[in-house]
């Protein structure tokens, strides 16, 4: 008999049945992505002025947008899980704090939150520094990228918490009971039984959150982060060709979001669970 050598708790992906329908849809969306990439290449080659110039100009912004999004998203995954578990906690205090956090954050527009972190939060820190006479805090200045990541994380974690919560709640109660009846603690049962199943269920909405975050990251352009959008505005100010600039910026975002959506679908298929 074959003995598995991987860890007891590793998740082995299940090959999903490839029916024709799914395969065709898969291909179609890849084609759309290819078309957009092709369009960008075509414009850059046939009309390299201004299109290729725009790309060269916003190039470092692409990196800023992507890294801000990815770093924020990784933090969102962690903070969202903690808050989501808090929302499910039996402790009134933990439950109360996480519920208030989620409700408050979801009631304030992201743009306003970003403006708060960048423009208002530093003055709070400075005020604290002044009253406690701490030199380092008195002269505190906001780091644009840092504050942008903080703002995006704080906001998206609230939404992510609700996704985690719904995912965990969708796992039948019998799973937790079976795990507990085997002597596993609540934490161990979550870690090895509930979360691995919940993660598969929440993968589509989590993927959507990543794509939303990628798009919403364009808001950080108003708080001094030189992302794609901000670089596009700068290019516009210098050259004043709005149609070409914003078309290219839109195509760049579209490439990134379509590609992300393909990756999410791919992972989804890889980890599909038969019940």
């Amino acid at each position: 008999m074959e003995i598995q050598t991987d860890g007891a708790v590793s998740i082995t992906p299940i090959p999903s049945p490839k029916n024709g329908d799914e395969k065709r849809r898969f291909d179609k969306w890849w084609l759309l992505l290819l078309f957009v990439v092709f369009l960008i290449a075509y414009l850059s080659i046939t009309k390299s002025d201004p299109y290729w110039r725009i790309i060269l100009f916003v190039r470092d912004g692409i990196w800023v947008s992507l890294s801000t999004t990815v770093i924020s998203f990784l933090l969102v995954l962690v903070v969202g899980l903690l808050v989501g578990l808090g929302r499910l906690s039996k402790s009134k205090v933990i439950n109360g704090i996480s519920t208030v956090y989620v409700e408050v954050i979801r009631g304030i527009p992201l743009l306003v939150q970003l403006l708060f972190w960048y423009f208002a939060f530093p003055s709070v820190v400075q005020a604290i520094g002044n009253s406690l006479n701490i030199e380092a805090l008195k002269n505190y200045l906001a780091n644009p990228v840092g504050m942008a990541i903080l703002g995006l994380t704080f906001c998206y974690a609230a939404y992510m918490a609700e996704i985690y919560r719904a995912g965990i709640q969708s796992i039948p109660k019998g799973q937790m009971e079976a795990a507990r009846s085997l002597g596993m603690s609540h934490f161990e049962s979550m870690r090895y039984v509930i979360l691995p199943q919940a993660v598969r269920i929440i993968l589509p909405p989590v993927g959507n959150e990543f794509i939303s975050l990628l798009k919403d990251s364009s808001l950080v352009s108003v708080v001094a982060v030189a992302d794609i959008t901000r670089r596009g505005r700068e290019f516009m100010a210098a050259n004043f060709i709005p149609l070409e600039t914003w078309t290219m910026v839109a195509l760049l975002y579209l490439t990134m979001t379509l590609f992300s959506a393909r990756i999410v679908t791919f992972i989804e298929h890889k980890t599909r669970l038969e019940r």
Binding site: M1, G7, A178, A179, S181, L182, M184, Y192, Q197, E274
Partner: protein, 242 residues
Amino acid sequence: MEPIIHIENISKKFGALEALHNVSLDVQKGEVVMIIGPSGSGKSTLLRCINRLEKYDEGLIIVDGIPLNTAENINAVRTEVGMVFQQFNLFPHLSVIDNIVLAQRVVRKRNRAEAEKVAIDLLEKVGIPDKAHARPGQLSGGQQQRVAIARALAMNPKIMLFDEPTSALDPEMIQEVLDVMLNLAKEGMTMVVVSHEMGFARAAAHRAILMDGGQIIEEAPPEILFTNPKEERTRLFLSKVL
């Protein structure tokens, strides 16, 4: 002799509904106790109180000398008490063998080779060694329930609780699960079984208990309880299920 399960006057309410009312029961080591009774009579609740999946409001339960009151005691008791559910509750994201290996590693701290050896031996014992690497979803109901029994046995429990283990099964699969349970009983496992399988009761049970309205109405050896019950409520219930 000291009973391995001692239940003393426990009561349990769900809101206004009294699911258990002053229930007392002693189970000796090696004894097989059957619990029967109408739906909603508190059978599952009683079983679930024994490993504290359900908290009781009043009374006392002592399992293998350990009173069920503090958190450490509860985890200690849970590792001694195996439970088999009506809906199997296998972990669908793990292969059959990993279902059996998981808690051995996490709770019993066995290494993988050791845990797998136990799992494979148990799968042989329940008659499905060839399904070790299948997914639970690929097994029939009867096979899933046998894996669930193996999973519980892997923890080397002193007591096994069965909550309607064959109720969710197609009729042709009931016997394969009962056979596994019969073997366990023969080996001297202490078992508390909620089930209406009279054949199993006659073959294996030392005692049968009728519950109704959250109370124990009558208890007797199965052949007596089934054929010549004292209580009217027992007679009424039996006339419906037999």
